[in-house]
Amino acid sequence: MDMDMDMDDLYLDNIDEFVNDQNKIVTYKWLSLTLGVHVNTAKQMLYHYLEQKRRESSGTPLHATYLVSGKFVENGSTCHKVSVVREDKLDAVKAKMDVTISVHVYSVQRAELKDSSPLYSTDYDAVKENLKNCSKYSAIRCAAAVPMASVELQKAQEVALVPPVEKEINKPRLNENTSATSKPSTKQPTGIMGMFASKNASKSQESSKEVKTEQKDDSSLVETSKTKPASKANPMSNFFGKPAQKKVDEKPSKSIKEETDGDSAASTTASVKLSQPSPKSEFAIKEERSKVSSALKAESKDTRNKSKRPEVVDSDDEKMDNQQKKRRRIKKPQPDSSDDEVVPDSPPVPTKQIPSPKKQVKREPVSHQESSEVKRRKRRRVLKSHTFVDEDGSFVTEKGYVSESYSESEEEPEPKSQAKDSSSLKQSFGKREEEKKEKSQKKTSASNKSTKQPSIMGFFQKK
């Protein structure tokens, strides 16, 4: 007994050192991997430490986060909700649950965390080092969960590659486009507040590789989530079709992963691939994608992407790039990064399937991957309707399709119109209306010219 007491004190001293001296964030997972103890022991240790320090009520204040899981009724459907909450929100979250199944300390730290990113970072390296046996101390057991032999792994990877290949064949143009040079448009328009208001971040921070990977990963994700790869004749409608289907799939989900802090913590990484998030946690979806895509990054799809890059390189690079980005975004409506409290457009977005083009458009302003300059260029080229829907939903698709055919058939006037539009975009926000008028004028002139329904090849042939 004495030995146990000493050991406990020793561990508590360790925790004290980590928290107070080193100013670390001590999560239960990190503690269990560092000290080599079972996770439940780690949780108890953290709890005891917290109690002890609170009783003493001396020294620096400590902050803690808790993991709460229980049954939660939302919109009439019951689901099992697991969330990491800050201490000050703990009681509120517990009260909201029907049945609270478990509550335990998730982390202890001196700093008051503003978001949950450091929680994930803390565990990241510890888990990475112990990748092979990171579940050694875990309480979750599954006899069937055994790492695959390398042969099986290869086969699984090959299988995973096949469906995306089919997708690519169905939409060769789009893929060609999407795999074009992914130079992010470095010249961001500085004065466009609309971009800022609609949460479009400058893309320069993100590596273009990540985005492309995510697009490819997303196509595989969509595959695995059982959306029909309905290859319609019009490639545009494929964009509409897929995310619309995905939305429908996501609705009847049983488990909602939600973070009261607004961010998903490390605890969700394990179940990301399995659960289908609800539309409410759209932000969680985005973060899911980012995590899944990072996991899938190493796949050879990337190399295929890269090999296609040199094919489409022109003077019109930037526009192509914009279009590619635009298409990529349509294919993958939720961008890789996520979880922003400021999402003005997404809540009102209806999850119906019918106005899917409209939804696509709404999501684009929500997407914070590209500047609106890029977005607008793409819209103009491919889905001109989008700009209009953005401002006034009544215009919707009709205008879009007209202009779309315009972009596919016209060659010479197109670059000029593009150049003109891009220059006007660099002006301030106040001039946005002028741009719209400009575009509408071009559209009317364009629609006069095109009388047939051109194939999308026409667009590319000018290269």
Binding site: Q109, E112, S117, P118, Q188, K199, D263, E287, E341
Partner: protein, 206 residues
């Protein structure tokens, strides 16, 4: 992966690129953690495989990018000694400084991929440290602004004044008022040493 040594032309560029990317993330994170700007303009992005908060505001981003664009040549030539992010109150008195000391170890080579992932790991640790720095720092008064100072070796600044790296983005010699802080306490945040660069960061507060 090919081995690059100091003599190679693009070695300095590689190191400068890594460092400038890191500084960009660090500056955004400092602005977020120290609440210089409202947290609504920040969104989560991914860097070094962990989530970080970056600003969406186009002008702010452009400013930070231009700043680092000008600093990059100094780093390439190993003329930048320190990069300091100063947070100032309404009267332009500094309240906090985040100092990144940069030095390049004499024996340099980028020899393998593991080295870069090692650097990534170290940079991740620095980012984590910035995230928890508010445990040791006091809350800032409202209405703070920030600026970036670069301490250079020798006479590099003279060249910078002569040649504008970016048009309409001039650098000026900092006022003594901005540089000097009364009763400064230094709190080291993190030191990292790797084969390609040494970086220690510390927070200094009033």
């Amino acid at each position: 992966m090919a081995t690059l040594t100091r003599q190679d032309l693009n070695f300095g560029q590689v190191v400068a690129d890594i460092l400038c990317e890191f500084l960009e993330v660090a500056i955004h994170l400092i602005l977020y953690v120290r609440e210089v700007y409202p947290s609504g303009i920040f969104q989560k992005r991914k860097k070094y495989n962990v989530p970080v908060q970056m600003s969406c505001h186009p002008e702010l981003n452009q400013y930070i990018q231009d700043t680092l664009h000008c600093i990059k040549p100094l780093i390439e030539k190993n003329e930048a000694e320190k990069v300091v992010v100063v947070i100032m109150d309404k009267e332009h008195h500094p309240v906090e400084r985040f100092v990144f000391e940069i030095s390049q170890p004499p024996l340099l080579s980028i020899s393998s991929e593991t080295l870069l992932s090692h650097v990534e790991q170290l940079l991740r640790a620095v980012i984590l440290k910035i995230s928890v720095c508010d445990a040791v720092l006091d809350t800032n008064p409202p209405g703070c602004t920030f600026t970036v100072l670069v301490h250079t070796r020798e006479t590099a600044t003279r060249n910078m004044e002569k040649v504008q790296v970016i048009k309409d983005f001039p650098w000026i010699v900092a006022d003594e008022q901005e540089v000097h802080m009364e009763e400064a306490k230094l709190i080291p945040l993190k030191t990292m040493t790797s084969d390609i660069l040494k970086n220690s960061s510390g927070g200094i507060l009033d």
